[in-house]
Symmetry: C2
Subunit: 326 residues, 2 copies
């Protein structure tokens, strides 16, 4: 049931040439307002849908919006993908998604590959160096998610406020010494959260012990959990929920009560967090909204304005945190 109306049909219906029709629909100011409206009405009446392939052929620019992310299996990025995809679809466009398996080289290859198809990219947590990202931004419109590069547009959750909220919450419960189980050293998010930790300590009287850098998942969680116990902290804040999950698993293994002996706070608030036993206290990052916002920035006629947009986050308090054992 693909629509059969061509631009030529619209032009005929509006009694103008295809050139004018094209300009009218593109919103060119050079065409008279009356003509423009007439063409637009004709297009609407005929249910005209532009042929993207033809447009792309002449402009050389793909119409799709591409999302490049490190790992679809990570629920956080899946959330971003949902947001991107929904917003793109609302625009009548299609979203190309590419997973890089957390590999910087794959990332570069993937970006090159989607280049001809999409002139607008959402890059989520790209691993490539700043220069490479900027190079990509030369050829296409780019918005970053969870990464900041001078001169480019970016969107992220409020990492500093997230860790602050977590710390305030733990402090209120009575914790005075908490561990931070960090993420990969190359992660911009981890760096941002660490900075937040430092800033928060000036306001919250709490000692933060750096437990190290871990890969999210069970292996990392295992190490982190053991280190947390050894560090004699009463609570641990994890870089993200996947790591927190691993920690929770290890603690259960070792028979350590959560939150009885150790409170655990995650970050991202992935959907399963609330399904755990105990449900995980976590900093809710609006993943889909990050995606939506990124697309929004890409939608304008111009390159998105550089700068970092920070979306608010919120601590979801659940049962993995409680007062420290007296």
């Amino acid at each position: 049931m693909t629509n059969e109306a061509r631009l030529a049909d619209v032009a005929a219906a509006a009694q103008v040439s295809v050139a004018t029709a094209s300009r009218a629909l593109a919103g060119s100011t050079v065409v008279a307002a009356a003509t423009r409206d007439r063409v637009r009405r004709a297009a609407a009446r005929l249910g005209y849908e532009p042929n993207l392939a033809a447009r792309q052929l002449v402009t050389g620019q793909g119409q799709s919006i591409a999302l490049v992310l490190p790992d679809l299996a990570n629920p956080f990025y899946a959330g971003v993908a949902k947001g991107v995809q929904r917003r793109v679809r609302a625009e009548g466009l299609t979203a190309v998604v590419a997973d890089t398996d957390e590999d910087a080289e794959v990332e570069a290859a993937v970006i090159a590959q989607v280049g001809p198809v999409a002139a607008r990219l959402v890059l989520a947590s790209p691993r490539m160096p700043d220069d490479a990202v900027r190079a990509v931004a030369q050829r296409a419109r780019v918005v970053l998610v969870n990464r900041e590069v001078e001169g480019l547009a970016a969107v992220t959750g409020d990492n500093a406020d997230g860790v602050r909220q977590a710390l305030v919450h733990l402090h209120a419960l009575g914790h005075r010494r908490v561990g931070y189980a960090g993420g990969p050293a190359t992660s911009w998010s981890d760096a941002a959260r660490r900075r937040g930790l430092v800033a928060a300590r000036e306001r919250v009287e709490i000692e933060v012990v750096d437990l190290g850098a871990f890969r999210p998942g069970s292996a990392g969680g295992l190490a982190a959990a053991d280190l947390a116990l050894a560090a004699e902290v009463t609570a641990v804040l994890a870089f993200n929920d996947q790591l927190a999950l691993g920690i929770l698993g290890r603690l259960a293994d070792r028979g350590v009560a959560v939150p009885g002996r150790l409170s655990v706070v995650g970050f991202d608030d992935i959907p399963v967090a609330r399904l755990l036993a105990p449900p995980l206290t976590s900093v809710t990052v609006p993943a889909d909204e990050l995606g939506r916002t990124a697309v929004e920035l890409l939608l304008g006629p111009d390159r998105p304005e550089p700068g970092l947009r920070t979306l608010p986050v919120e601590l979801a308090v659940r049962r993995s945190t409680a007062e420290p054992a007296g």
Copy 2:
């Protein structure tokens, strides 16, 4: 650094016309083998990449492969998406993914929308009626995942064998009465698993109690867990892991020991399953391979051969199952 070589350049380099060059690269049998090789070498030497927009313009068929799935946030589908996306990329193509939010109407809209861009579709667990699916298959090449429609190609995990393995495992542990917490009534997978249950009971001396149909997640898990306890079963098999997660959470809430008092088995083996406490025994369905296989079927020059391909599944035994309390 988009490549600048055009088909005309290749043709010139190979001393043939563009028509012949086009045919040679398309692998048309009508062109002489020697010529074909010469053109191919020239193309390779120049690093020629066909302009997909131009091709699409003339053929009217999009080159991308689209994946339509109910919910990216469901780790199982995220896995399928990974598989699809990786295989598509290996082919030098791009994958368009669209999430329908589990809504049949959105599904139809989405399919219509990706139509012009992609002439090959992977439909994962489509909600639409058989006829509608067949209608889509008229206009595009379609492979289904976790759904069977007469006359179409489809890929699925071996549902029957999965439940059989689960039942055999539980039986071996000594369970004789287990509950089945089903999925949505409209789900093809749930129906397939239920059929498997019936078939397995002929071989395994075990009584299966139908606990009902539940929506995956915490709400459904809550109800299912309570019903399982009331039904006086010693183990419960869940339609999928998300439901199992909800069940586990509810059981923990009520202080019911797992696997002490009740064993729990999931289905799909999503990545978090092994991170739970206790780690969840689950039927491993190779989600990414389902995606990969689906794409493979789509890659041939012709419509994929109708019929259901069944991929083997495997029970991952973890600590959520044990002997029933004596």
